[in-house]
Every structure is written in structure tokens, then in C-alpha cells.
């Protein structure tokens, strides 16, 4: 039997009082795809950062191809044949593909020889792995899928034979993701070893050979993918049985609550983000907006939530809402019973340095029950926070804790509690479960469905297709600021939506 491509023995790493990795051992055979799955904060990224030389382990050994290897920095990792593709690409936008590939690997003071050498190598790599990219295209002119290929090529150019990919499909359309996995297949066939970090059970099940599950800094299991199933993996991740499907009865849509007509949004740089958009959300239904990140969904939510100006007509319960100038800000929107769970809870939805109780008033700090004369009634606010924390099972239930000290899931519960408990007519909710652990996802989804069942309208924006499909009653797909099509959620599938997300118009809905 050949030596494992990577073997970690007893890796431990602590950040202050937090034990991020605890006695982790793992063996990855060469020429396989090994998945690492776990919730946010389970320690996946820390483990990979140790492997790539960003952090130094407190204890433990790293063996590469049967040889004990010290990896004090990323230079050493590259020398050991490890390449990393980060979730957020590290490319220089206004450089060409070729320039990006040699960046940091130039030999000599002159660029020209390196560039022509790289061009030749690139052609060989492209032939060998079917990784075609135009070496002279500028990064900002090519798509996200292509940019990811450049990252992979960068690693291969540095002669990596172990590739680590961190959440590689987060920004891809389903078809781009399929292409990525074809490339990974090809790399595996050529003998490369691939470590795939993801939180998507589907990708693990479909593409990996073996999978390791991490929970709270520990490796809870390593199994052959063929011998497991998604329910079992989810249980290993969370430590208890979880419901992967959203439990809900069919929707009973009522009168239109939100009507959008010919909405246009132009951003600060003068780029049209939303183009002539029309959409209706009725009482008692959840409308999901699917789409690859950056196709105008964020801007749509921001206009509806009063964070951004737009042109066109929006009616709420038949009454027009101003889209610019006076009465178009978020305070006015809340006054008209629009609640908003923003896409980025850490930048927008919460003030991270504020106590939990201060955050419960955020956006509603004008509400009369929080005032006492000229001052704010902080005691009432704290009592209200305690009640909301109990109802939404926020842990720890401590109103004095700063928002930044809660986990992602509990932060989101605070935001969702604040918005839903206002009993809004319309709930805008963006990426409700981004960075949220599976247990909290289940809870938040249940709250959204309950709100729908009370006859409220919900507009959901998510880049997670699975979430859109399981939560929405109706799906609208956005591409380049336009709605490419609308489908009832139970009459469509990922493939059809994937085509719409890539801008291939379907038949008119």
C-alpha cells in the first residue's frame, strides 16, 4: 500500500481559550477526493490553514507522502506540493490571467522570460487537464467560474499535487459547479489528491471518495462516501437527528401584498443593477429569488428595505411606497410594516459591539414602548430582549453579551426575532442561513414558514438553491438584474433553475 498523500497526526490548535482543533488525525490516499464537512466554527478552516502554513499547530505532526514535513509558512506548503484555492479568490483584477499565474513565482528580475515560460506551461496544463482559459484575458473580464480555474492553474503551475478547495461552489451556478467537478475528476484521474471543504452534503455525496466530519474542533468520523448517507452525515455534524427537509403545508396565497412594477436600480458607479423588474408577492406565500450572487438580488432587497434609491413603482397593500427622497428610508419602511433581515447581519443587521439588548431595538429604536420621556427605556428594552431570547432559544440568553460574542446562528436568531416579532405584513429576508449551523437553520426555516401560515408575505433571497427550493412556494430567478422566469417551487428542479440562473431564458412563465 502506498503512503498516504497527507497524514495528520494528533493536530491541536487553540486560540486563547477556544480549542479550534483537538487531536485531529486523518489520512488521505493519493489520487482521491477527500471531503471535509462540518458546521461553521467546527474547525475546518483552521485545520486547512495549518496545512497551508498560515497557523502553526500547538501539537501534532504533518506527513506528506510518507515524509514528516514542517510547514511554517505557505512557501513551505507550496514547496511540499500543496496548493490552495480560497473561497475568496486572491487574484489581481486588472492583471491578465498569465500575469496572475506568475505573480509571486517570477524567476529573475525581468518579466518577459517568466511570461513566455508560463505561457508554454499553461498550454501543457490546459492540454493535460482540459483547463482552457485565455492567458491574455484580464481577470475582471472573465466570469467567476473562469477565475476559479485560474486559481487552480496557479496551484498547478507551482507543481501542486495536493489541492485544497475551500467552499469552491459558493459563488458558482449549478452548471459552473458541474464543470468544476469535471475538472476535479480529471485531476484525480491524473493522480492529484484533492481536499474539498464544503458544507453542502450533496457535493460530498456525489463527488468524494471519503469524507471526514468535524464537530467542535474534533474529527467525529471518517467514512467511505459510498457507505454513508446525507442524514447520517448531518447527524454526525450536529450531534443529533436533524430534519433536512422543511416541513410545510401547501401555501394558500391571498391578495397581493407587494407589487413591484418596472423597478430600476442604478448603483453608485452608474451600473444598472436591477432592470425593469416586475414581481408580486401575495399574502401567505414565500417567494424565493434564486440567482448567482451579484445579479441584482442584493440591490432589490436594499431598495425594498429602504437602504437604496430606485425608480419605478412599488405598492404595499395597494399603497405606493416612495423609492427616493423623503419617506424612502428604512425607518419609513418599518413604519409601513416591512421587516427586513438583511443579507449581511454582521455589517448591517447588527451592531457587533452593541449589547444584545441594544441590538433588539436596532431599527425600532423609535418605538414608543422603548421610550420613557426624553430618554430610552433601557429596562423595558432588556425585558423585551429576555422574552425574545427565550422564545427564539438564543444561547446564551444573556442580554448583556455583545452581538459579536454570539455564534452566527444565534446572531441570526436575534435578527430574525427582532423582525418577525414586529408582526410585519411583508418580511424581506436575505441569506437567512448563511454561516448558520444546521440546528439553527431548521429553527429559522420553521419561523419563516409559520409567518407565512399567518398570512404574511415573505420575499426570500438566497444563493443556496436547496434552500430556495425547499422553503419557497414560488421561485423567481434573477440574472443580470432581470427576472428570467418564475416557477412554482414544486414544479421545477435545480437543473431548470440552473439554466435560468446562467441567463438561458426559459419559456415565459
Amino acid at each position: 500500500m502506498t503512503a498516504p498523500a497527507i497524514e495528520l497526526k494528533g493536530i491541536s490548535k487553540a486560540f486563547g481559550p477556544v480549542q479550534a482543533n483537538k487531536d485531529i488525525s486523518i489520512r488521505v490516499s493519493p489520487g482521491t477526493i477527500h471531503g471535509i464537512i462540518g458546521e461553521n466554527g467546527a474547525g475546518k478552516s483552521t485545520l486547512m490553514s495549518i496545512l497551508y502554513g498560515f497557523y502553526k499547530a500547538d501539537k501534532g505532526e504533518i506527513w506528506i507522502h510518507g515524509k514528516r514535513t514542517e510547514i511554517p509558512d505557505s512557501q513551505a506548503a507550496i514547496a511540499a506540493g500543496i496548493g490552495m484555492v480560497f473561497q475568496h479568490f486572491k487574484l489581481v483584477e486588472n492583471f491578465t490571467v498569465l500575469e496572475n499565474i506568475i505573480l509571486g513565482a517570477e524567476d529573475g528580475g525581468l518579466l518577459k522570460p517568466s511570461l513566455s515560460k508560463a505561457r508554454k506551461t499553461l498550454q501543457e496544463l490546459a492540454r493535460e487537464y482540459e483547463l482552457n482559459v485565455d492567458p491574455d484575458a484580464r481577470i475582471d473580464e472573465i466570469g467567476v467560474g473562469m477565475q476559479q480555474r485560474v486559481e487552480i492553474l496557479k496551484a498547478l503551475y507551482r507543481q501542486a499535487d495536493i489541492l485544497i478547495l475551500d467552499e469552491p461552489t459558493g459563488v458558482l451556478t449549478p452548471s459552473e459547479a458541474d464543470q468544476l467537478f469535471r475538472i476535479l475528476d480529471r485531476l484525480r484521474a491524473e493522480g492529484k489528491t484533492i481536499i474539498l471543504i464544503t458544507h453542502k452534503l450533496r457535493e460530498i455525496m456525489e463527488y468524494t471518495d471519503t469524507v471526514s466530519v468535524m464537530r467542535r474542533g474534533q474529527m467525529t468520523a471518517t467514512v467511505k462516501t459510498a457507505e454513508t448517507n446525507p442524514e447520517h452525515l448531518a447527524e454526525l455534524m450536529v450531534g443529533r437527528k436533524v430534519l433536512l427537509r422543511v416541513d410545510k403545508v401547501p401555501a394558500a396565497p391571498g391578495k397581493p401584498i407587494l407589487e413591484i412594477e418596472n423597478l430600476n436600480v442604478v448603483d453608485e458607479a452608474g451600473v444598472a443593477r436591477v432592470k425593469n423588474l416586475n414581481l408580486t408577492v401575495r399574502a401567505g406565500e414565500i417567494v424565493g429569488i434564486a440567482g448567482v450572487a451579484g445579479n441584482g438580488q442584493s440591490e432589490l432587497l436594499e431598495v425594498l428595505g429602504g437602504m437604496r434609491e430606485g425608480q419605478g413603482t412599488i405598492r404595499l397593500n395597494g399603497n405606493p411606497l416612495p423609492l427616493s427622497g423623503k419617506g424612502s428610508d428604512a425607518r419609513a419602511r418599518r413604519a409601513s410594516h416591512v421587516a427586513h433581515v438583511p443579507e449581511d447581519r454582521q455589517r448591517e443587521g447588527l451592531i457587533m459591539d452593541f449589547h444584545a439588548w441594544e441590538n433588539v431595538a436596532f431599527g425600532y429604536h423609535h418605538a414608543s414602548e422603548y421610550q420613557s420621556g426624553l430618554l430610552m427605556n433601557n429596562a423595558a428594552l432588556r425585558a423585551d430582549t429576555e422574552a425574545k431570547m427565550e422564545k427564539f432559544d438564543v444561547r446564551p440568553p444573556d442580554p448583556w453579551l455583545a452581538a459579536k460574542n454570539f455564534s452566527g446562528g444565534n446572531q441570526q436568531k436575534i435578527v430574525v426575532a427582532r423582525e418577525i416579532e414586529r408582526n410585519p405584513d411583508l418580511l424581506l429576508i436575505g441569506q437567512p442561513t448563511r454561516g448558520v449551523d444546521i440546528g439553527a437553520i431548521e429553527f429559522i426555516h420553521k419561523q419563516i414558514v409559520e409567518l407565512r401560515d399567518q398570512g404574511k408575505a415573505v420575499l426570500l433571497v438566497s444563493v443556496e438553491l436547496e434552500e430556495i427550493l425547499s422553503l419557497s412556494d414560488r421561485v423567481a430567478v434573477m440574472f443580470d438584474g432581470m427576472i428570467m422566469g418564475e416557477r412554482p417551487a414544486d414544479q421545477t428542479d435545480e437543473k431548470e433553475l440552473g439554466l435560468l440562473m446562467a441567463g438561458v431564458a426559459g419559456e415565459a412563465a
Binding site: G16, M307, M352, F362
Partner: protein
Amino acid sequence: MDKMPKWADVVLIPLISLILAALLSALVILGIGEDPIAAVKLMVSGALGSTYGWGYTLYYATNFLFTGLAVSVAFHARLFNIGGEGQAMLGGLGVALVCLYIPWPHWSLALIFASLGAALFGAAWAAIPAYLQAKRGSHIVITTIMFNFIAAAVLNYVLVNLLRPVGSMDPATARFPEAVHLPSLHELLAPLGIAFSKSAPANVSFVLAIVACFAVWLLIWRTKLGYEIRAYGNSEPGALYAGISPVKITMIAMLISGGLAGMMATNNVMGEAERLVLNSTEGAGFIGIAVALMGRSHPFGVFLAAILFGFLYQGGAELALWTSIPRELIVVIQALVILFTGALDNMVRVPLEKAFLALRREKA
């Protein structure tokens, strides 16, 4: 979890910074061949050893309280108001106009309206950079610095050409009428049977400064407006999300800040000089920045820091008077304190955070 307990952040870090600054200052004093222990003794006895010393220490502290609070309020909205100096100068003009051109029956009435005048002029001077920041994105640090120079030039013009009494060679206003004379601490404490130095300049505006401290605390931590200011200061996208107007908060925070800086003039112009002279602020606007940094923008911290800087000012003056330590060295010592408490904060903070983490891990 927070990296270290709150008391360490609020008390320990400034204290260690101070000690470091003191040690370095001692080395410098040693370097020029003087005795640092004797120097400290002289500073303490000069600034705190008599009611005369206290009178000066508190007088300076009053100036720093107003400008420190001014910087703090702006800082909560993440606006760096470097223009306290100019705003305080203009505040002086406001005080002078109120005191010279309205016949006041009693000093208390005069003080109320002089405060308003000072705040109004200071706020007006802050309003222009605030507007440029809010509407045009011109960086407030740059514009407030430039406005300090403009303020000095404006004051120069006004004093030389408009307010100078006929026949006077001095670029200053006439003396304020006797009716607006503010009671000094000597006059205030005498009925209580406390004998306070007659010649020290500390006056009733010290009380006004303490009231301002409390008012700022209420504003920032107990009112809706303070909530909005802090929210905006922490996250601008967050403010937009919550329906808090960045333009409005930028304007209001800067107006309050400028107003507080302007109110300093009730102390130095109305309380001490009793006329408006050129360069009456003597750099107090800049000291306010150090005071706010050291006081962590909290009114109580600002109060302590202001007293400390008052001590340094008065103690330093005594040093210059009684020893051969040159006046410039006093500035060096003050600069070291500012450097350590303000700019080199992380030098103390980072190792201390690590120490607390290690301590906690041992306990765990």
C-alpha cells in the same frame, strides 16, 4: 468572548501607558543632568500642593474637559474632529460679543447666554466641515485642520479691524464689563468656609464643565440620538439598514462637538482673561484629542484625563519656573504622555490581552 475584563481596558491600560511615559520622561530629565525625583516632587507640589496650584490645575482641566468632550462626541460617530482649536477660538468670539454688547444684570444670566453664544459660534464653525463631509465626502480630518487656520486668521482680522478699542495697540477686545465677571473658586468656596487661593483662575465654568460631562453621558448612553450616533459610528451600512440618516448624524454630532469646543471660551475668555485676545486657546483644542483618546471617549474617563493634563500643564509651568529644565522639555513630557496613551495604545494593549488570555487558559 471579550479579550480582557473591562476594568483592565479602562484603568490598567492608561495606567501602564502613563507609567511608561513617566519612566521615559525620567530618563530624558536624567539625560540633561537634572534629578527626575526632585522634578516630580516639584510638579506635584506645584500643581496639587496648594489651592493656588489646584486653582491652575482645575482651570486648565476645565479647558480640556470641554475640548475632550467635543472630540469624544464626534468620535462616537466615528468622526475625528481635529478642529476643536478653531471652534474654541470662534466660541471666544461668541462669548465676547455676548459680553460686550448686551448689558447683563447678573453674571449667571450672562453665563447662560455666553455659553449659548459660544456653543453657537463653535457649532457654526464645525458646521461647514460637517456639511462638506456629509454631502461631499471631504474628509473631516483635513477640513477641520484647515478650519483651524482659517479661524485664527478670521479672529486676527476681527480683533485688529473690528473689535479693537480705538487707540489701543493690542489686538484684543476691550475688557468685559464688571457685571459679567464670573465668580472664581475663591469667591464660590468662601461662603462655605473654604479658603481657596484668590489669584488662581479656576472659576464657576469648572462646574459648567462637570454638568457638560453628565449631559454628554446622558446624551450618548441614554437617548435615542446617542443610540443613533453610536450605531452610525460603529457601522455605516448598519445605520442605513436601521433608517438612521448618515447625513443627519454627521451634522448633529459635529454641531454638538463644535458647540462643546466653543463652550471652552466661558472658561478662558469669560472666566480668566475677561476679554478676547489673540490665540486665547493656547492649544487646548489639540490637547482635547489626547484627553478624549485617553479617556476612551467616556465622559468619566475624559474627566480624569482632563485633570491629569491640567496637572501636567500646571506642574510643567512650575518646573520651568523653578528649575533649569527648559520650557521645551515640559512639552516633551506632555508629548510623551500623549504618545503613549494615544498613539502607542496597541503597544500596551496587545501584550496585556495575551497575558489575560494566558491567565484565563490556565484557570480553564
